[in-house]
């Protein structure tokens, strides 16, 4: 009886904190998960994903504290070692999903959807079904602002290389500047899966912090006169144009850069479902039920990659700092081209809409609207800012496609 009781105690997670050499790291990560839960629930920082990420982190670390004498983690929901074998070309389990299914825990199995790039693409389908590209179609110049706002991606890529990250890791860190969670997750999964946890957390945290990050940069780079510019009413876009748009973009962008096919294809498919008017049920599923289910799976499985032994490294701090730099420079890129367009148009374009080019729909557009209205209370920039905002989604997908093509092997 006493032996059984002793076995129960010694094989508990509490004992594991002392017996497992990485036990203290798990303890720190449990605290980190609680902080993320606080940020998601109380501060409402991207709660739909942040809560899932935090719970994934919590479950992965709580369940992997107890380690057997041979170093295995019998009760773990997520096994980092399985995925290390999966990626190691010398391992007998290289790219062996069957091995994961046979021996993995619950989150290992859910993580297959991330590893295969399924969840980010399905989320893009939902985003497409929720997005109105009308403002972009009525003002195609917005695409230039969406392109300009990818500056941070390549600036951070350059910086990460200088800080000692390899090219694949630098590309994954840089894509944080695209301010697009699914794109960042897909790129990182393909190029540097070992950094998925910190990159996902940095990307979603900064997206939530856009209302704090962007305004000081917007004020520093624009004058009161520029911010108060009222823009002309956008032209109305016909239904046919809205149906043609996803078809044209898919054909053109995928032909230009085939590696963008999963993201652009799903984004535009979702949008086509919305615009056709004959697939309302499918559009409804893509933007509600499917989106919610995939968000659940994505959050929890990405969060699970934040196991203590991998997350608690100096590189994580570097990624967090580089992510902030990427966001800031993407905003700067959009604003500078916005200012250029202001000059070239004779003062008809408000440069504030440039900062909305950093994807993060519709938060970045709302920030442009708010700052524009502070300068001129009768200013309504929201619809004008939605153009660069959705252009940023396409721009970040192209940037991701380029980086995957270059460094994906």
């Amino acid at each position: 009886m006493l032996d059984s009781l002793w076995q129960l105690v010694s094989e508990s997670g509490f004992a594991g904190f002392f017996s497992n050499p990485d036990g203290w790291r798990n303890l720190v990560m449990i605290a980190v998960a609680c902080v993320l839960l606080y940020l998601g629930i109380k501060k409402q920082y991207e709660p739909l994903l942040m809560v899932g990420i935090a719970v994934g982190c919590l479950l992965a670390n709580v369940s992997s504290v107890f380690m057997t004498a041979d170093g295995s983690l019998p009760d773990a929901l997520y096994h980092q070692s399985l995925w290390d074998d999966f990626l190691n070309s010398a391992s007998p389990y290289y790219h062996d999903y069957g091995h994961i299914l046979a021996t993995g825990g619950l989150i290992d199995i859910l993580y297959i959807g991330v590893k295969a790039g399924i969840y980010p693409c399905l989320i893009f389908m939902g985003i497409g079904a929720m997005t109105d590209f009308g403002p972009l179609i009525s003002n195609p110049k917005s695409l230039l602002l969406g392109a300009a706002a990818q500056f941070g991606v390549f600036f951070a890529f350059f910086g990460a290389n200088l800080l000692g990250f390899d090219a694949q890791q630098s590309a994954s860190i840089g894509i944080i500047g695209g301010a697009d969670g699914p794109t960042a997750i897909l790129t990182t999964t393909k190029l540097a899966p070992e950094l998925l946890g910190p990159i996902a957390v940095a990307a979603y945290s900064y997206m939530a912090l856009i209302p704090m990050i962007q305004p000081p940069i917007m004020k520093a780079l624009t004058t009161e006169k520029e911010r108060s510019v009222k823009m002309e009413q956008l032209r109305e876009v016909s239904k046919t144009e809205k149906i043609l748009f996803p078809i044209v973009v898919t054909i053109f962008v995928v032909l230009l850069l085939p590696s963008t096919a999963p993201l652009i294809g799903c984004l535009m498919f979702g949008n086509l479902l919305k615009e056709t008017g004959v697939t309302e049920r499918l559009s409804d599923v893509a933007q509600n039920a499917l989106m919610n289910i995939v968000t659940l799976f994505l959050g929890i499985s990405v969060g699970a990659t934040m196991v203590g032994s991998r997350f608690l490294q100096f590189d994580t701090i570097k990624i967090v700092v580089l992510g902030l730099i990427a966001f800031a420079f993407s905003t700067i890129g959009g604003l500078l081209v916005g200012k250029l367009m202001y000059k070239l148009s004779g003062g008809k374009i408000n440069p504030l809409i440039g900062s909305a080019g950093v994807s993060a729909v519709p938060m970045a557009a709302r920030v442009s609207q708010r700052e524009g209205q502070k300068a001129n209370p009768s200013n309504f920039l929201l619809m004008h800012a939605m153009g660069p905002n959705v252009a940023g989604v396409i721009g970040s997908a192209i940037a991701a496609g380029f980086l995957i093509k270059m460094f994906g092997g």
Binding site: L144, A147, Q150, F151, F158, N161, V249, P377, M406
Partner: protein
């Protein structure tokens, strides 16, 4: 940057990436960063041109059917023009409402008027559309 140089860079990177992880020296690092930014810019700029062309075609097509009925019925006896209802003092036309409940639209207009500290009939609302 010439296309030949860009092609050289692409093939060089592809070869290295095939072997696994790669480290970049400062020069190549900068070159790839510029090349990537250029690809995004050029891609979206050309897409912009495509959308402008498609848009112009669509606008031209929409104008044609509108002009056709006018030309097709020149002999029709013009109906007596309906007497336009007088607008409210200071009102500026009608507002178009898309995907928005009229009650919500009315509330939005009232809020805007209140925020601007201007009477509602001195403001001109062109359209109200729900941003989804």
């Amino acid at each position: 940057m010439s296309f030949a140089l860009a092609e050289e860079v692409v093939s060089e990177v592809a070869e290295q990436a095939a072997d696994g992880r790669m480290k970049l020296d400062v020069g190549n690092n900068l070159l790839y960063a510029i090349l990537g930014y250029l690809v995004v810019f050029i891609g979206l700029a050309v897409l912009m041109l495509v959308i402008i062309i498609v848009g112009r075609i669509m606008v031209a097509k929409m104008k044609k059917p509108a002009a056709a009925p006018e030309a097709a019925a020149p002999a029709a006896v013009p109906a007596p023009a309906a007497k336009a209802l007088p607008a409210a003092p200071g009102a500026a036309g009608e507002v178009k409402i898309y995907d928005t409940d009229p009650r919500d639209a009315a509330m939005i207009m009232a809020i805007v008027a209140d925020k601007l500290q201007k009477p509602l009939n001195e403001l001109r609302f062109v359209s109200i559309k729900e941003v989804k």
